[in-house]
Each structure stands twice: as structure tokens, then as C-alpha cells.
């Protein structure tokens, strides 16, 4: 009895709990409880937030475009490859994700209105009239792989990061004490004397015997090893090259031109449209708009007051001249059927319900054949060449697969055989610099078995087949080839050693307190005396100045002496005096510039440390 009662009550409690869960689900949507983590598309999760494959590829594309716009076509293809760009793109996305999450969790947010006004104010989205152009906006977004909502999100994140960075990096400061300290150090000057022992001094004593050369050669074989090299024949098939051999008869060009003109005639009508958008398609609102328009109210006025398209409503709904295919079909079809000045009944598209007005129509100017001739010829050639390319590529693959020799391929397909000359695994010149060609040339199939390679697709319109013609195993270059090189090296080493030895004798004498002049006379050296040398002194060798600035400051009695090599020469420095830089020695402008630089630098360093701290704490899981 008791037991069964307990069972029953459990059932009741469970029922109530489930009822509660149902309420919560109904209010918030069940999916909210089950999302996050583990979708097959996920590349990395950052604190449980997914970074998807789409985001990564968008970032890769963005970075590729940036590289291209900065360096133009001179960027080698391999620098633009996905494999090359991907890791950095992922790091960037992780970094962004960490920052955005931190910003949000610390109460930062960007309001939708702010985003709207940012978008409207963006230079790139403006039409020729200098006002926001909704078409242009949509077009640019699409070409960058965004939808309006993903773009808004990206923009929001960008602004959040910006707000975060501005506060932390922009609040970098330098205290008066620090400024004084750093000025004292950077504008410090030093007075010193130095003597130079140069190579001529020991030239007579340096002589390298053949035995020494041979010994060095035998002990350092690795240094003289020539890596394995290979030379290949190759035939190249490319659309560009095929185009060179194609001739299009004049008559065909003219025919094509006529055809283009006819098409232009059909499509060439450009229409300028205005619209009022009611996003939710609410009956009452549609009714209001319809009746106001029917009453003869100004379309622009009604647009301003009722349209949901924030981008155009302040321009009376004006969308400008639109290209075909830019807007949903229903929209364009209805527009095409309007006469100038006419307003349509409500038209439904994926964006909502539109009232469309045809503002203006224009036909493009007639084009002259001569202006178009080259372009048409190029297009026709390309079409033909592309067709040939496809068939020839299949033939190339068949013929080369069984070919004893690429000359057979030349005969069959009329493609010239060329040779790369020897190159190593780090590549050679021309086509031998291409990563794919190098890999193929050193593959087992080509290198060991001597077969032609597969058809290598260097780009979608360019392929190549390679076959080994020569192979040179790695070998140690013969002594006679490198004798001179070794001799020079050993001579220099010996010179340095001897000069250091002499220099150290000089140093010791000076250290003992002997006057510089006396020491110089004994060894027949010239004493150079320099004063007020700053860190960036350009008239003295860099290593010499750096050396003088790294020496301990002189105390009362003991001289500070040190030697340093510059090239082959050996310098012995006697430091006499250190003068700190002073605030007064700088002009107000110099001081301000230095303070400004330090502020910026410290701010950037603080922000970098801040980002690293966030990453240190983040839970980052790569899938």
C-alpha cells in the first residue's frame, strides 16, 4: 500500500515537472536547449561557440582578395592557396571570437539603429549620386559572400572589437617619470677612445696549407654536398596558348556583333525603379499605402513615411537604374510591364510586399563594331580554345600515359616539348618553380620509374605533363671546386684569431692602467677619440657603437675596456664618459613626438597582452 502510494506521487510530480518543461519550451523554443557544439561543419569551438567551415572559407577568400589588391598579380599562386591561408584565417577567427565574446559578456552591445546608420554612411555603398544605393549594397555583399544578416552580424562584431580595442589600446600612457627615464636612456651620449687592429697587420702571418684545406674539406662534407637534382621534359597545354593559334574569320566576328546587338536591344532597356516595401505584408498597412497612393499622394512622400526599406525610404524609395537579374523575378517582371510614372499593385517577393513605380527608362547607346571587334574576337577565341582544351586534355592524358618519350606527344598533339634543366627539391626557374611540378618530378613514378607524370593541373586553364630526362644523385662537390672557398674562409678565421689575440694584449695593458697613448705607440696604433656619440651615430660602424653602449659605465679609477670585431677588424674601446639625455636637450616637438610614440607603443603592447590573456583563459577546441 505505502509503496504504491509513493509510486503514484512520483508519477504526479514527474507529470508536473514535464508540464513545466512544456511551458518553457513553448516560450523559448526547444532548439535553444539543444544547439551548440558538434555540427559536422564546425572547425573550431571557442568557449562552446562554433566557427564553421563557411566562416573559415569566407575569411580565406577575404584574405586572398586583400593580398591581391595589395600586391596585384605578382603574388605567386601558392601564396594564395587555401592551405597557405587557412591556418592564419582560423587564428584570426579565433581571436575575433574571443574578443567578441568578452565584449558581449562585459555588457557591450551595438544597437540596430547604429548599425543601420553605419551601413547607410558607408562610402562603398553609395551610388553615383553620392547617396546610399540599395542595389550596390546587395551586390557588394553578395560578391563578398555575405547575406544582409551575416553582414550585419560581422559589422556588429567589428564595431564591438573596435570599441574594445579603442579603450584599451587608446588609453596607453607614459608617466612623466617613465618619459624622463627613457629620454635619459635613448638620448644618452658616450665619449670614448678606440684603436683599430686591421687585417693587414697580421696578413704576413696568415698562411693556409693544403693539408689544412683538405682537413676542413673532409670534416665538413655536408657543407659541400650538392642536393639531388632532376631535369624533366614537359609539354604544356593552356587555353591562352591555344588562343594564339586560332583565327576567327571577319564574317564570324560581324555575325557575332550583330547577335550581341540584338540581345542588347532586348536586354538593353534599363529601368529606374522606386518602391515602398512592407516587410511583414500586414493587410492594414498595405491598405493604407494603397489608398494614399490611390488618392494621388506623392509616391516619394508615402515611401518616406511608410516604407520598411531604410536604405531608400529617405530618397523617396528610389532604387536607381537596375540591372537585369538584380531583383527577384516577380519584381522585375512587374516593373517591365509598367509604363513610366505608373505604380503597381502590391507585388510579393522574398523581401516582403512592394509597391513599384517605374521612374524612368533608357536604352543604351548604339555600339560601333570597331570598338567591340577585339573583345569579340577574344571571346570567340576563348570559347573555341576552351573546347579544344577539354578534348586535348583527354588526348594528352591518354597519349602521355603510354608514351616512351614526350616527343610522341609532340607529334600527336602538336605541343612543343621543352626541358627545365636540372633543379633540386627547392625548385628551379620557370615552370620548375611550381610546387606541383617539383612534387611530380621527385615522385616515385617519375623519378624512379621514369614514367611520364599525370596531367598536372596548374590552373583550371593550364595543364602540364613532365617526364624525367636526367637525374643527378646527391654528391659531394670535388675538392678542386671548393678549394678557393675553403682557403678564403680559413684565412679569415685565422686573421680573426690572430687579431683577437693581439687585441687582448692591448686590452690587458689598458686594463692595467697604462695610458692609451703609450699603449698605442708600443703597438703602433692610431687612437681615435670621439665624443657625444649617440645610439644612432651613423659615422661609426654599428657594432662598434652598440658595443660602446653595452659597456658598463666607468667608475672613478678603473678604466672600462672592451674589444669587438667589426668584419675582420678588431676594435679596442676605452669608455671615458656617459652623459644622460635630458628633457631640456630636446625641443618641445621632439619631446611630444617621443611621448606620443611611447603612448601608442605601450597601448598596443597592453592590448596585445590583453588579447593573449583572453586566449589564455578561453577554451579552444579544434575539431
Amino acid at each position: 500500500m505505502l509503496q504504491s502510494l509513493r509510486d503514484n506521487t512520483k508519477g504526479v510530480v514527474a507529470g508536473i515537472l514535464i508540464g513545466l518543461l512544456v511551458i518553457i519550451f513553448a516560450l523559448s523554443g526547444a532548439e535553444a536547449l539543444f544547439t551548440g557544439g558538434g555540427s559536422p561543419n564546425t572547425v573550431v569551438t571557442v568557449n562552446g561557440e562554433d566557427i564553421t567551415e563557411q566562416e573559415v572559407s569566407r575569411q580565406v577568400n577575404m584574405e586572398r582578395r586583400q593580398l591581391l589588391s595589395r600586391f596585384g598579380d605578382s603574388v605567386p599562386d601558392e601564396f594564395l592557396s587555401d592551405e597557405r591561408l587557412r591556418p592564419a584565417a582560423i587564428d584570426t577567427l579565433i581571436q575575433r571570437s574571443v574578443l567578441v565574446q568578452e565584449a558581449r559578456s562585459k555588457g557591450m552591445a551595438i544597437s540596430p539603429e547604429t548599425l543601420d546608420s553605419m551601413i547607410v554612411a558607408t562610402e562603398e555603398f553609395r551610388g553615383p549620386d553620392g547617396r546610399f544605393d540599395a542595389n550596390r549594397y546587395q551586390q557588394l555583399l553578395r560578391s563578398a559572400g555575405f547575406t544582409p544578416s551575416t553582414y550585419r552580424r560581422a559589422l556588429e562584431e567589428e564595431m564591438l572589437i573596435n570599441q574594445l580595442a579603442n579603450g584599451i589600446s587608446g588609453s596607453g600612457f607614459v608617466t612623466p617619470a617613465e618619459l624622463e627615464h627613457l629620454i635619459a636612456l635613448s638620448y644618452q651620449t658616450r665619449d670614448f677612445q678606440y684603436v683599430t687592429l686591421n687585417a693587414e697587420r697580421v696578413a704576413d702571418e696568415v698562411s693556409i696549407t693544403d693539408e689544412e684545406i683538405i682537413e676542413y674539406y673532409e670534416n665538413n662534407q655536408a657543407e659541400f654536398t650538392q642536393e639531388e637534382q632532376v631535369a624533366v621534359d614537359y609539354v604544356e597545354l593552356s587555353v591562352e596558348r591555344l588562343m594564339d593559334d586560332i583565327d576567327i574569320p571577319e564574317s564570324e566576328l560581324r555575325a557575332q556583333f550583330k547577335q550581341n546587338m540584338a540581345a542588347a536591344e532586348r536586354e538593353g532597356v534599363q529601368r529606374r525603379a522606386a518602391h515602398i516595401l512592407i516587410e511583414d505584408g500586414d493587410e492594414e498597412r498595405l491598405e493604407t499605402v494603397a489608398s494614399r497612393l490611390a488618392a494621388g499622394e506623392d509616391f516619394a512622400e508615402v515611401a518616406r513615411e511608410t516604407s520598411d526599406d531604410f536604405g531608400t525610404r529617405n530618397q523617396g524609395g528610389d532604387l536607381g537604374f537596375i540591372e537585369q537579374g538584380e531583383f527577384p523575378e516577380a519584381f522585375e517582371d512587374r516593373l517591365a510591364a509598367l509604363s513610366v510614372g505608373e505604380v503597381s499593385e502590391p507585388v510579393e517577393t522574398e523581401y516582403g510586399v512592394h509597391f513599384i513605380k517605374l521612374m524612368d527608362e533608357r536604352r543604351s547607346d548604339p555600339v560601333q563594331f570597331e570598338d567591340q571587334r577585339d573583345e569579340i574576337a577574344r571571346q570567340l577565341k576563348r570559347v573555341q580554345a576552351e573546347n579544344q582544351f577539354v578534348t586535348m586534355m583527354t588526348r594528352l592524358s591518354e597519349v602521355s600515359f603510354n608514351a616512351e618519350d614526350l616527343a610522341e606527344v609532340e607529334e600527336e598533339l602538336g605541343l612543343p616539348v621543352q626541358n627545365t634543366g636540372l633543379f633540386g627539391r627547392s625548385g628551379g626557374e620557370g615552370i620548375a618553380a611550381n610546387r606541383q611540378v617539383i612534387q611530380a618530378a621527385f615522385s616515385e613514378e617519375v623519378l624512379e620509374h621514369g614514367n611520364p607524370s599525370d596531367v598536372l593541373e596548374l590552373s583550371p586553364s593550364r595543364v602540364v605533363v613532365v617526364k624525367k630526362t636526367d637525374r643527378q644523385e646527391a654528391f659531394v662537390r670535388p675538392l678542386d671546386d671548393v678549394r678557393e672557398q675553403i682557403a678564403t674562409y680559413l684565412e679569415e678565421e685565422e686573421t680573426r684569431r690572430l687579431l683577437t689575440e693581439r687585441g687582448e694584449q692591448v686590452e690587458e695593458a689598458l686594463q692595467r692602467g697604462e695610458p692609451v697613448d703609450a699603449v698605442a705607440e708600443r703597438w703602433n696604433l692610431d687612437v681615435q677619440e670621439v665624443q657625444g656619440i649617440s645610439r644612432d651615430e651613423a659615422d661609426l660602424p654599428r657594432q662598434l657603437v652598440n658595443h660602446a653602449f653595452a659597456m658598463p659605465r666607468p667608475t672613478t679609477d678603473e678604466p672600462v675596456v672592451g674589444g669587438v670585431h667589426v668584419g675582420l677588424d678588431y676594435h679596442v674601446v676605452v669608455l671615458a664618459n656617459v652623459d644622460p639625455g635630458t628633457l631640456e636637450a630636446l625641443s618641445a616637438e621632439e619631446r611630444d613626438a617621443m611621448a606620443q610614440n611611447l603612448r601608442r607603443m605601450f597601448g598596443q603592447q597592453d592590448y596585445a597582452a590583453y588579447q593573449d590573456m583572453l586566449q589564455e583563459r578561453a577554451d579552444i577546441r579544434r575539431r
Binding site: 500500500m1 509503496q3 504504491s4 509510486d7 503514484n8 506521487t9 504526479v12 508536473i16 513545466l20 511551458i23 518553457i24 516560450l27 568578452e102 565584449a103 562585459k106 555588457g107 557591450m108 552591445a109 544597437s111 547604429t114 570599441q163 574594445l164 579603442n166 579603450g167 584599451i168 587608446g170 588609453s171 600612457f173 608617466t175 612623466p176 617619470a177 617613465e178 627615464h181 636612456l185 635613448s186 644618452q188 657594432q543 652598440n546 658595443h547 653602449f549 653595452a550 659597456m551 658598463p552 659605465r553 672600462v560 672592451g562 669587438v564 603612448r599 607603443m601 603592447q605 597592453d606 596585445a608 597582452a609 590583453y610 593573449d612 590573456m613 583572453l614 586566449q615 589564455e616 583563459r617
Partner: protein
């Protein structure tokens, strides 16, 4: 088992149970539903607050760009959302502006404020080392050192702490201590931070003695 219970008995049991627990169940339901709506309302309010602070903060950045101190805006932001990053950043920016005017007192107060408001984390660690630097400029060396000793900094900012410590020890005349601190700061440095390495090396070289100079000189020679 339940087979032995008549329907009446079952109903009776349920009634009894409801009498005992009904109050709690009703309270729980009311609380959860109320809590849910309350939470939503609170979230909305927070978001609205964040949007206001965001706009104020943008205005602050604009006036900072224009070189105005904008003290009023800073206070407003701190009022609107005192625990948000907007408030911390506003205080950071105010501190920076104050230091530019050599008003170390105000700067120290602002940084102190961040330190008390922010929970432990990157922001407070940054505020701490910045405050220590300002205290150093005010010659409050012991206080600055004590501040740096409170808790161990994250790896990513440890080098900044060591440099600040070196600056303090140098001013206290503890050359050996300063040298050791700078040395640690240099060792803890990211390879990429070349600017910082150059400054630290300069500070370090300047403290060279014949004993410590050896390594630096050899490096130069090679």
C-alpha cells in the same frame, strides 16, 4: 500494489498529496513563470542600458579624438553601466587624459576605481600594473610594489609586471634587484615584441657592471 487500490482510494491519496504539497507546486510554477518573464524583462533592460552606454562611449571616443577631456561623459557612462567594459574603458581613457595633463592624482583614482569594480581577470590585471606605474611616478614605491605582489599575474602580462617592478627598484636604488627584474621581463617576452625587447635591453645595458657586461659584449662580438 496499485491493483489493490480502488479508484476512490487513489483519488483520496492524490487529494491528500495535493493538500500537503499543492502550495509548493503552485509556488514553484508561479516562481518559474514569473522568473522567466522577469529574466527576459531584465535582459531587455540590460540590453537597452548597453545600447545607451554604447552610444555614450562612441561619443566619448569622438571627443577623445578631438582632444577633449570629456569628464562629464566618463561619469555618465560609469553611472549608466558601472560594471560594463564601457565603464572600465571610459575610466582607462580618463586616466590616460589625466596623465597627459600630469594630473597623477586623478589617474590613480580612476585606475583604482577599475581595480575595485572589475572582477579578477584581464581588465583588473591590466588596471593593476597601470596603477603601479602611476604610483611609481608619484614616488609611492612601497605601495606600488605591494600592488604588484598581490596575486600572480597571467603569463601574458607577467613581463609588464616585471618591467614595472624593475623601474621601481631602480628608483629605490636597488640596482641588482632592478637588473634581475628587467632580465626576467626580457626572458618572459614574446618573440614578436621587438620594440619592447629593444627598450628593455636599453634599460638593462645601462645597468651593466664589468661582471654582467661579459655576456652582452660577447653577444655583440658575434
Amino acid at each position: 500494489m496499485s491493483d489493490h487500490l480502488t479508484e476512490e482510494e487513489q483519488l483520496e491519496a492524490l487529494k491528500r498529496w495535493w493538500k500537503e504539497n499543492g502550495k509548493w507546486v503552485v509556488t514553484a510554477v508561479v516562481l518559474s513563470v514569473g522568473g522567466y518573464f522577469g529574466w527576459n524583462a531584465w535582459q531587455d533592460q540590460r540590453l537597452a542600458q548597453a545600447h545607451t552606454a554604447s552610444a555614450q562611449y562612441e561619443a566619448l571616443l569622438d571627443s577623445v579624438d578631438a582632444g577633449e577631456p570629456a569628464t562629464g561623459l566618463v561619469e555618465e557612462i560609469k553611472q549608466t553601466s558601472r560594471n560594463s567594459q564601457y565603464a572600465f574603458n571610459a575610466a582607462f581613457l580618463r586616466a590616460k587624459a589625466a596623465i597627459d595633463e600630469e594630473d597623477l592624482e586623478t589617474a590613480a583614482n580612476e585606475l583604482e576605481w577599475v581595480l575595485t569594480q572589475a572582477s579578477r581577470g584581464p581588465v583588473s590585471e591590466l588596471a593593476r600594473v597601470r596603477l603601479a606605474r602611476v604610483l611609481t611616478a608619484q614616488s609611492a614605491y612601497d605601495e606600488a610594489l605591494r600592488l604588484l605582489e598581490e596575486g600572480r599575474p597571467s603569463e601574458s602580462i607577467a613581463s609588464k609586471y616585471d618591467e614595472a617592478r624593475g623601474d621601481i627598484l631602480l628608483r629605490q636604488g636597488n640596482i641588482d634587484g632592478a637588473r634581475a627584474a628587467y632580465q626576467r621581463a626580457l626572458e618572459g617576452l614574446d618573440q614578436a615584441a621587438q620594440n619592447r625587447a629593444a627598450l628593455l635591453e636599453m634599460k638593462l645595458d645601462n645597468l651593466a657592471t664589468p661582471a654582467t657586461a661579459g655576456s652582452a659584449l660577447e653577444e655583440n662580438a658575434s
